[in-house]
């Protein structure tokens, strides 16, 4: 099925781009995590009628795409997952709030129109913010950062193991689905009579895999905790990165920068 093989491709792709080297990739994962969360936090905190303020937040993705060398094109694909729902909500806004806000060349701009627009922009910016984290930081590094934040070991291990096994199980599911579709060539989904046994077989295979994996780990001295490897060390650049962005976000958020710049030209 397209969906499954797409997902496999996606995991491989993300793994690859997160593994390349760039100034952004080299930043300490904890710093990147904090900056990302702050970025999203500041972005969504803009007032829903403050389109112009919100626009300035585009500085962050632009800078990171440029510095990291991650292609912008692929991130557009990511937008399509969550954006439809956001767009739906945004499109409804003009209908539910018709308070006029101002006139622009004779067209009445309502509050609903503006808030719909900010919703859309927030949707895009927040997705890009998350994308820029995961495309410049490997999952292992993010888990290390979570560790530093004192997220319980058992949960971090859980995330790592799930991630590790996603590709394996996706391809097993893909395989079983292919086998199904070869013998039921004209069906789109799994027939209801087969629901239980098909997924059940996949489940048993997963459990067998889990047992095998566990055996392999135990035989090599595993005792309950993953040992993190090649731990990144914090450097002065990391603090600088953190400070610069935090300051930038604060400025973008609390000064109407666009209005200021614009007002240099408009009276």
């Amino acid at each position: 099925m397209g969906k499954l093989s797409d997902a496999i491709y996606e995991v491989h792709y993300m793994d690859t781009i997160a593994g390349i080297d760039s100034p952004i990739h080299r930043v300490h994962p904890l710093v990147k995590l904090i900056v990302t969360v702050a970025y999203i936090w500041f972005t969504v905190s803009f007032n829903k009628y403050d389109v112009t303020g919100l626009i300035t937040m585009v500085v962050y993705p632009v800078a990171l795409f440029s510095l990291s060398g991650i292609s912008f094109g692929h991130s557009i694909k990511k937008l399509r997952v969550i954006l439809p729902f956001v767009i739906l909500m945004g499109i409804l806004n003009p209908f539910f709030n018709r308070e006029p806000l101002f006139l622009l060349y004779g067209i009445t701009i309502t509050e609903g129109m503006v808030s719909g627009l900010t919703l859309l922009i927030k949707g895009i910016l927040t997705v890009l913010g998350g994308y820029l984290l995961i495309s410049t930081t490997r999952i292992e590094a993010i888990c290390y950062a979570l560790n530093l934040l004192r997220v319980p070991e058992i949960l971090v291990t859980q995330i790592l193991l799930t991630y590790r096994y996603i590709t394996v199980l996706l391809s097993e599911a893909n395989h079983i689905f292919e086998a199904y579709s070869l013998r039921a060539p004209s069906q789109k989904g799994i027939h209801y009579k087969v629901w239980g046994s098909l997924i059940g077989q996949l489940l048993f295979r997963s459990i067998d895999r889990a047992t095998g994996l566990y055996d392999a780990m135990v035989l090599r001295g595993y005792n309950g905790n993953f040992r993190h490897s090649q731990l990144p060390k914090a450097r002065w650049q990391d603090s600088a990165y953190l400070l610069v962005w935090m300051a930038a976000f604060a400025v973008l958020r609390y000064t109407s920068l666009t209005a200021l710049i614009g007002s240099l030209f408009v009276r």
Partner: protein, 332 residues
């Protein structure tokens, strides 16, 4: 049903993070109590299994559409509710990071809406009591369908609630709820049936997989209700606190700290630049009447355009720089 960051205010996102974190910490404690190290990899693989199984389309008889499995209930039946909750967190985190399904700020909400209700409410209040005195096909179907439907209803309701309290969408709460609940009734039923089909298959072929955890979680409805009560009060309190104030949560919280209602940090900067503005203004003075917002907005639009232009310029410069660097590397 994944929430997006854009639909949330920081305060709501933060409150839901806190609620989910409390539940997660409690679950970690419970899982550790009867900790067998063998369970950790099983949890990992089961998480990945649900992830993969959710991507398989099941055709729904009589319609052209398709459904998916309900991961929370299935995991809870196989691993027990606490381990299932942790597994679901891992799944949701990976979905959010890798597939941009959900958002980083919305993760707390998504854990709550999709993992909490299924793993705890659906499991303890429905699945478990029904299954308690022995299993049968009919009981499994009933338990799974009820469990899925109710946890999805609660989840959908929470989505509407969280969105409305965040105040970002203009959609009235009633309309939102009226749209969400019936859709999720249908979805829940289908998910329940698929989940039941899988559980029946497991029950009839390798029942030990289901029974193993039945003995190990001593069920006490009272205890669960107490826990749930506490959590609901916590979340409810946090949310209503937010709701009663300005929906713009960050401004609200900073306002609390500084004791001011409004932030006017930019006022002095404005004054300082007023002079410059006088001299550099190249656009004619448009009249927007007395509407201040409109005035700001227009210069805002102009400013945005400039910022965007600057950004593109920067990107181009970076691009050229990078290409040059690459060429240099290739040369050497």
């Amino acid at each position: 049903m994944h929430m997006a960051d854009a639909l949330l205010s920081p305060a709501v996102g933060g409150a839901m993070y806190a609620a989910s974190a409390v539940t997660a910490i409690y679950s970690v404690k419970k899982v550790k109590e009867d900790f067998s190290p063998k369970k950790v990899p099983v949890m990992g693989v089961m998480g990945a299994f649900v992830f993969a199984a959710q991507m398989i389309n099941f055709s729904i008889p009589g319609t052209g559409s398709s459904g998916h499995i309900c991961g929370g209930i299935l995991l809870a039946a196989l691993l027990g509710p606490y381990a299932a909750f942790l597994s679901m967190i891992a799944i949701l985190l990976i979905q959010c990071l890798l597939f941009a399904d959900g958002g980083i700020l919305a993760l707390g909400c998504n854990i709550w809406n999709m993992a909490f209700y299924a793993c705890f409410f659906g499991y303890f209040c429905l699945y478990k009591p029904i299954i308690k005195n022995g299993m049968s096909r009919a009981k499994i179907v009933l338990a799974s369908v009820l469990g899925c439907v109710l946890s999805l209803q609660l989840g959908a309701f929470s989505v509407a609630l969280e969105t409305t309290i965040s105040g970002i969408s203009e959609l009235p709460f009633s309309v939102f709820v009226a749209a969400m609940q019936p859709i999720h009734l249908a979805i829940g039923t289908i998910e329940g049936l698929i989940t039941a089909a899988v559980l029946i298959f497991v029950f009839e072929t390798r029942p030990e997989l289901l029974n193993a955890e039945a003995t190990e979680n001593k069920f006490s409805l009272k205890k669960v209700l107490v826990i749930m009560g506490i959590v609901v009060v916590l979340v409810g309190g946090a949310l209503s606190l937010v709701a009663s104030s300005n929906p713009d949560g960050l401004e609200w919280s900073i306002g609390q700290v500084t004791g001011k209602d409004e932030l006017d940090t930019d006022v002095s900067v404005h004054a300082a630049l007023a002079d410059v503005q006088e001299k550099t203004a190249v656009l004619p003075d448009y009249s927007f009447g007395n509407d201040n917002i409109a005035g700001t907005s227009f210069s805002g639009i102009v400013g945005s355009g400039l910022v965007a232009g600057l950004c593109i310029l920067l990107a181009v410069i970076f691009g050229v720089y990078k290409k040059k660097k690459k060429a240099d590397v290739e040369k050497t």
